[in-house]
Symmetry: C2
Subunit: 337 residues, 2 copies
């Protein structure tokens, strides 16, 4: 059945029922919720912790195409990219509102798959979907707002503006895997099954580093961003906001063997600028990073350091400590920025 046959009210009713069945009353968000979907606004009991909010859209033709992203993965990802922002502030996600646009010709089962993907991730993080809006439009657009909070009023935030010269630059996980996955899907590349699965998963099902964000806060890290645009772009954001420079040693970049093996000299460009990894990029003293490495459930890699140079400047160094030309580092986009 198509959405246009079910009608807007029918669709809202169907999605509301999915959401309310999935509502986890054990989670903190579930316990504090007073009203979810179905009134003029959602309502919950507030508390004195620091509140966080972020919004992000996944737009068809801009951020995804349905040829390379399934509906269920799209739902997961729409929520994941926002949870990643909350993670990068050192917060815990609590409530989600979803503004959805799609053509009337969309199959109802595709929309329920979208919500199933969203609810799967929401459940993992105890997030309650509490509101939304549904419109008929020519292209699919999922705009998700997440409201979260720090554990307490006293907990410090992870910001872009707290990096200090002398600190090391580190990242969680691996870089370039999602971009490699997108390239594999777009160009119909074929590798061994395990490599293909890990690349596809990195692109389609990014796993927000919420637990790692909490570890960063707990060990005194202050400057953090999530990598959505790509390592260099996002490190520039930190450097601009903190009025510092950064040096990256390209030989240190953590790149999955599956990416190195299958993308050869393209791997570096993917790691530097591929984007959509949703890893956390942070700066701290070597001492703090050692403690983070010991506590984190994922690999943590030091990739460079913060320096007192020109605000916003990011320099790449090769294995001998010589500067690397950005334009030669593997991604065309650099030439125009």
């Amino acid at each position: 059945m198509k959405v246009s046959e079910l009608g807007e009210l029918g669709l809202i009713d169907l999605l509301s029922k999915m959401v309310s069945r999935a509502l986890d009353k054990q989670s903190r968000a579930g316990q504090q919720l007073i009203l979810g979907i179905g009134d003029d606004a959602a309502a919950w009991y507030g508390d004195a912790s620091v509140q966080l909010a972020t919004v992000d859209s996944l737009r068809q033709g801009v951020h995804f195409i349905l040829e390379t992203t399934s509906w269920v993965d799209l739902g997961w990802k729409a929520l994941a990219v926002n949870l990643s922002d909350i993670a990068a502030m050192g917060g815990l996600p609590r409530y989600a509102l979803v503004a959805l646009a799609l053509p009337g010709s969309t199959e109802v089962e595709d929309v329920t798959a979208l919500y199933a993907g969203m609810l799967e991730l929401a459940k993992e993080f105890g997030v309650a979907i509490v509101g939304g809006d549904t419109d008929d439009a020519p292209l699919v657009d999922i705009t998700t707002t997440i409201i979260g909070s720090t554990g307490s009023r006293e907990a410090h935030l992870l910001t872009r503006s707290a990096a200090q010269p002398g600190e090391k630059v580190a990242v969680t996980g691996y870089l370039g895997t999602a971009a490699a996955g997108l390239e594999m899907l777009t160009k119909h590349l074929s590798f061994d099954a395990e490599a293909m699965a890990s690349l596809k998963k990195a692109f389609s099902r990014p796993y927000p580093r919420v637990a790692e964000g909490q570890i960063l806060v707990g060990h005194g890290v202050r400057a953090t961003i999530d990598i959505s645009d790509g390592l260099i772009s996002d490190l520039r954001h930190i450097c601009q906001a903190s009025r510092v420079s950064a040096r990256i040693e390209i030989d240190r970049l953590p790149v999955l063997p599956a990416v190195r093996a299958n993308f050869d000299d393209k791997a570096l460009g993917l790691a530097l600028a591929g984007g959509e990894d949703y890893e956390l990029l942070f700066t701290a003293s070597a001492n703090i990073i050692d403690k983070v490495i010991a506590a984190a459930p994922c690999p943590i890699t030091i990739i460079g350091e913060i320096t007192a140079g020109k605000a916003g400047e990011v320099t790449l160094l090769d294995g001998k400590g010589n500067p690397v030309n950005l334009a030669k580092a593997g991604w065309e986009h650099f030439r125009t920025t």
Copy 2:
């Protein structure tokens, strides 16, 4: 200059500066704000009051066309429709996040006009714009999330589900004015200047009934919705959620003389189903409504009553108390619902 020439980062920088200049540090939202636009998420100090959140999109071709809505009015309205939802819960709006999509060919001055309209209304209500997202897309879309709160943890909410048989049904302001304004603009109708100004204003600059919502809470009203879809549709929402019926006396509907005079027998249909009035529709005892009338800064009109009939049923009565056929009441749409 076009948005594509300025670039996404340039546009975000321009809009962030507009927003931060407008930030009212005297408002409660302004005082509690820790971080606005510019990091991975906005952050503010929470409190123990009941928190409210709602999201709504204004999409080009679905909710507006640029031929009848100016950019500055579009900004005002994108925020207003959401503040109206918070008002209808008995809450006060605090923080806004704006996800904006527009074509690269849009003039930068049109986007700044959009934000100027939004900031004008935000200032009136002490709302801080704290986050956003900007994308290049073929059609304009403004998805606004508002986070608000009740005055205290003890304040009751205005919900759709609290209507009781025997209560009167009342509305703030006038009905059908916005729809009359849209018709005037679409069909290039010409009336006297004062009438045209009031109709255009009702359509282009709806004024959210936040103060009136507070008066409703203060006097013990419990069931409220804002009229976005039209009186009948929205009253049905109350009746469905409250498992009751309602009777409306059509002779009592408050319609502006400018609408009655210029739309003749179409005026009734506009009042019943025109939508976009963003007035508050509520139910309460006659005694409570008397107190609301005495306290409210705008007209409050009793238009009918809640009865114990079939859940969701809305009946229209003429001056003699006889049922009116919906299909004859002036709006084609009724025939298909």
